[in-house]
Amino acid sequence: MAEVQATYTPKVTGGARRSAASRLLGRDWLLGWLLVGPVFLILLALLIYPFFDAILLSFQERFIGQDGVWVGLRNYTALFAPNSLFLKAAWNTVAITGGAIVGKLVIGLAMACVLNQRLRLRNLWRGLMFLPWAVPAVVTAYAWRFLFDTSGPINGLIAQFQLLDDYIYFFNDARIALPALILVVIWSGTPFWTMNFLAGMQAIPAEQYEAAEIDGASTFQRFRYITLPSLAPVILVTALLSTIWTSANLTQILVLTGGGPNYSTTTLPLLAYLVAIPGHELGAGAAISMMMMPAYTLLVFFLTRQMLRQE
């Protein structure tokens, strides 16, 4: 839809000769930079500067409230020492993110298919199903922590009907804690996928379905050969976005398990937090963040390109 040229404006200067500065810096350079200035400065001071600060910080031993001491690569080599939590946390990050992505894809797609049908009160159902996405992560984590608690309904039912000899201690057992956590992450993240899928489905021309119907395609075939391929770009972008946000989000983990039991649900961002803030070792924490940087930079770079291409 390029009928509106974004930067086109007629010459209102009456054909006056442009100054050297405006030839070099663009017609509206002064006003342009004045207007973007505040945003640029905030991002420079609070994103770009800290980014470089993090690099320096990761080569220091620095405790909160004290001056740093240069230690070279020690913060990095410590990450790969025997019994280091780094590799465990890296694996947890991959497991939680991977499991959550698959779950959100499947459930989100099914949910979008249901909500894309002509239903009574469809907008109400849509609104309700997006609730987990609208409320703060702390709230959803609380809701689930209570559901899984010994005073919660799951264990309540177990006790009431004597289904098991003992309660299930969801977050005390590593084998249950990780899947339970993934379930919560899926639950709260699915609406975002559903929303994107629905928007993508609305963009598929109805003619395609009509043509397929005339050719005798079944409902499933129409889904398989029209809906799914048309959604591919949406799925790609949503998956990338979700990978970034899911892997980086530590709120729910912190509230649900605190990273335990025995670090079995500690992800890299959570480890960085635990080391840097409660552990007071800013340098070592920054080193963990820096180790994540290449992966995120790659993801974000790829995603930015993808989003600009679709625009």
């Binding site: 409320v135 609380y142 609305q202 509230v255």
Partner: protein, 303 residues
């Protein structure tokens, strides 16, 4: 954010009736309704349980297992707001709500004003660095805050802002501004440039054009962006957790988690507090939904 990933999508409510789905078989219709009921339960049970628990007495929560409260008990809500409630939240909760509201309001104001100025420059003015700036905005929006909170903490410490609400007001725009700017610029692009040209020829200057023509036309986008900024600031957790450390400066999301540090979990109170915390984002979200359907989908979503 959904808007960001499906830029070619048409309005969500657009032409639902003309879909070629009317001939799905009876089996699929039944499956659809089964799916609907399943997904409604899946989504709502945690919230419903939360709500019910917030109205139960402690005896019901800890000793008996009941589905519905035997009688509606408002004690947990009351104890959140009275100093004698026994938990860390008691008496502090209203302070936390106020802190969150204050931070979110300031951040929203900053994001809308600064975002609109930058968005206008990016869509309508020509100057060096504009394309890389637009790209940089998306890049910074996508970069997760979990990467930078450690150096940001040391920056905040250097500015002597640790444990103040100002630190949050300063830092939150880093995640609201890129989105607000980007969102508004894509809406501005959908406004016919001829309107602006006419004003320019009539002697209006650029800022006049922005404030008298573009912004009034973009009112739905401005509203959505404001709602977004407020909700994001209200929901934020990590920065608030790291930058503040006393009960008086906590925002409500972090304040809630302070109740986890106690020997006993006051589940009733925690659920009541969590529900109250969820109210502003949910109300704003419902408002935004209307606007997204009518406003953004019609303009900003178009690429």
């Amino acid at each position: 954010m959904a808007i960001a990933t499906a830029p070619r999508a048409r309005a969500v409510t657009d032409q639902p009736a003309r879909r070629g789905r009317r001939t799905i078989g009876r089996g699929w219709v039944i499956a659809t309704y089964v799916g609907l009921i399943f997904f409604l339960c899946w989504t709502l049970v945690p919230f419903v349980w939360m709500f019910l628990a917030s109205l139960k007495t402690n005896k019901e929560i800890y000793q008996e297992f009941t589905l519905l409260p035997e009688q509606v008990y408002f004690g947990h809500y009351i104890s959140l707001f009275s100093a004698s409630g026994g938990s860390k939240a008691s008496g502090n909760f209203s302070r936390w709500l106020l802190n969150s509201a204050l931070v979110a309001t300031v951040v929203t104001g900053l994001s809308v004003v600064l975002g609109a100025l930058a968005a206008y420059a990016i869509t309508r003015l020509r100057f060096t660095g504009r394309p890389s700036l637009a790209r940089g905005l998306i890049f910074t929006y996508l970069l997760p805050n979990a990467l930078l909170f450690i150096p940001l903490f040391s920056t905040i410490a250097r500015l002597n802002l640790v444990d103040t609400l100002q630190s949050l007001m300063l830092v939150y725009p880093t995640f609201t501004l890129p989105f607000c700017t980007w969102m508004m610029s894509s809406y501005f692009r959908s406004i016919p440039v001829e309107l602006e040209d006419a004003a320019l020829i009539d002697g209006c200057d650029r800022l006049g054009v922005l404030f008298r023509i573009v912004l009034p036309l973009a009112a739905p986008a401005v509203a959505v962006v404001a709602l977004f900024a407020f909700t994001q600031s209200w929901n934020e957790f990590l920065y608030a957790l790291v930058f503040t450390n006393s009960l008086a400066t906590r925002t409500v999301t972090v304040g809630l988690t302070q109740m986890l540090g106690e020997d006993v979990f006051f589940w009733g109170q925690m659920m009541a507090g969590a529900l109250i915390t969820a109210v502003p984002p949910v109300v704003l979200y419902m408002l935004a939904q209307r606007l997204v359907i009518s406003g953004l989908a019609a303009g900003g979503v178009k690429g």
